[in-house]
Amino acid sequence: MENRLRVLRAERRWSQQDLAEKLEVSRQSINAIETGKYDPSLPLAFRIAELFGLMIEEIFVSPSRHSSKAI
């Protein structure tokens, strides 16, 4: 799933490891989410959103909206 995680992280000058520690997940998880290879569960998506003080949809692009744009 497309997302703005890398941009948001870079704005705060956090490394993937920094973000992983704040979310209590592995660095590999952060990398997989940022590259769109893994979609986080809803609880993890909420934790990410709460950490950045944003709504989930401000970080993650809805796949249905993304595909409708492409059409």
Partner: protein, 136 residues
């Protein structure tokens, strides 16, 4: 390299101890049967004894999946076990038919576990190729 989470470390220790136990029980059972030290009444339980640590490793994998808090790392292991199970069932089914038509010989049943662990490794390679991380 995959993250060494606390759950993974516990899993790793369990597998190491179970592997050592397997080696010890196998050596003891082989020695006992070879030197006719096993009483008839104990033959079945002692022959089955080396299987218990292998079953323990399957249980350790299940426990790891329950204990792993990192959902992405857990997903990698789930994918590996699915590959292992799919491969083992496929190989066993194909072998069964080949055996049935007299094209191959019988194989010992414990090879199912060997193929499953091989499949676990295959699953790690598939993980590496598809999502960039191997898993456990």
């Amino acid at each position: 390299m995959i993250a060494r989470t606390p759950a993974w470390k516990r899993y790793n220790w369990r597998v190491v101890w179970l592997s050592l136990l397997y080696a010890a029980l196998l050596i003891a059972a082989v020695y006992g049967f070879k030197h006719s030290l096993v009483p008839t009444v104990l033959k079945y339980p002692i022959a089955a004894l080396p299987a218990l640590p292998i079953i323990g490793i399957f249980a350790a994998i299940g426990r790891y999946l329950v204990e792993e808090q990192d959902e992405y790392i857990r997903m990698l292991m789930v994918r590996q076990t699915l590959w292992a199970s799919g491969l083992t069932l496929s190989v066993a089914t194909i072998w069964g038919f080949l055996d049935n038509f007299g094209l191959v010989g019988h194989v010992d049943g414990y090879w199912v576990a060997v193929v499953w662990f091989f499949g676990l490794g295959m699953g790690g390679i598939v993980n590496k190729l598809t999502v960039g991380e191997a898993g456990c």
